[in-house]
Symmetry: C2
Subunit: 250 residues, 2 copies
């Protein structure tokens, strides 16, 4: 059944209302009509099986058939801090990372980031990434849409990381040096609902100064296996490993 | 140091020779000259630190400085059988799957594959995918370039899978039904050098008949976590989980 995320005030005990771009998707793309059924999920992650009673060009309305006890969220909350990569790689990371269960994405300006985002570009990019995250969350049966942060500086990022219990930085020099235990050791320290902050550098990697600052701030440098991963592959490896560790091995 | 894969007869105990497209890469892209160093890896996975003694338009030649005891291969051999997906998704799967350690890729014509490859297109696609795999293997410090099969029919694929010890099919109905143990149970049965065959359907998924045939042939249907992954994300999840299981948790 097709799934749509709605604001909390658009879904109550007995009825729902969908507005905005999803109206067109329901009427034009899915060609639904009165009596058809869909799933509504609100910002609190509540999932409702619903039935349409009316469709106008501005709003789709209907009744709640029943609330469902569905939860597909990772048992830990993973925030992916990604050094701004080139081209449309961040879109790939957000799309695939959403499927894989990320809780939030935080783009930051790394020393070796080739691209620069000014404030205007940053806001436009954030809106685009929010849209990608919403669509991917609907397709992958998520209960929540990952949060997309505005772009932060490196110093702001370190400040933001303070609120997280486990902090990991992907560091390819660890892979080259044959380090293979830090990742699993760090994940074993996490408990249900732990908040994990994982930081991945841009294409050129992190500078030694950045890595030193991160270690100072409590980040554990980890390899993600012995092979050297591209920047856009590292987040996907991490999220898959987290899923395997917390959802499949237990 | 830049890495290049060569045929077995292009690397011996004391010298190496590079021909073909890599010559241009070395001289024009990397702008190397006599005395510069690079890494040669032959088809047997032997890794040699080398020094250039001459560059012509057709050949780069030089000496072996020393052989290196490097091995970045997964301890199990994973063949990814992928139902033909739309667009350039197979290129993404091969590029990222190579970084993540896949041993081979096997495209097959699934009932719900939208695209069809005739023999001519199949060969052209295979050559393109081989090139992508070689470049990704060089960048990710692999010892071997994954094999790219010619496109197989579903029946040929089942025949081919007989040579593999562990056979897994990604099945989203398992995810929807809340099954979360088959993947780890299957991986726990694997030993070093085990050969694992993982099959992933195209965008529309596998038909019930295909799944029944695969179960008959010894495939274990597994979910890859509770979320519904796109076809191109499933292989990456699986390879990351295999790396975490065999390389990081031990």
């Amino acid at each position: 059944m097709q799934r749509y995320f709605v604001a909390n005030n658009q879904l109550n005990e007995t009825s729902f209302s969908i507005i905005g771009e999803d109206v067109k998707h329901i009427s034009k793309v899915m060609r639904m009509s009165e009596g058809d059924e869909l799933i509504c999920i609100n910002e609190a992650g509540l999932v409702a099986h619903c039935q349409i009673t009316s469709i106008s060009s501005a709003e789709v309305k209907g009744n709640v058939v029943q609330y469902l006890a569905e939860n597909t969220e990772l048992p830990v909350k993973v925030t992916v801090a990604q050094g701004l990569p080139k081209g449309d790689k961040l879109e790939l990371i957000v799309q695939k990372g959403t499927e894989l269960g990320a809780y939030a994405f935080l783009p930051f300006q790394a020393t070796r980031s080739i691209v620069k985002w000014d404030e205007k570009k940053s806001e436009k990019k954030r809106e685009r990434l929010e849209k990608i995250a919403k669509e991917a969350a609907e397709q992958s049966y998520r209960n929540v849409v990952p949060k997309i942060y505005s772009k932060l500086s490196f110093q702001q990022l370190i400040k933001e990381s303070e609120n997280h219990e486990i902090k990991i930085v992907a560091f390819e020099e660890q892979a080259k040096a044959g380090e293979l235990t830090n990742l699993a050791t760090s994940l074993k320290k996490a408990e249900v609902d732990s908040s994990i902050f994982v930081l991945i550098g841009p294409e050129g990697g992190l500078t030694n100064e950045e890595v030193a600052d991160l270690e100072q701030a409590g980040f554990i440098p980890c390899s993600f296996g012995p092979r050297i991963l591209r920047t856009e592959t590292a987040a996907l490896y991490f999220l898959s490993a987290v899923s395997y560790h917390f959802e499949m091995l237990r």
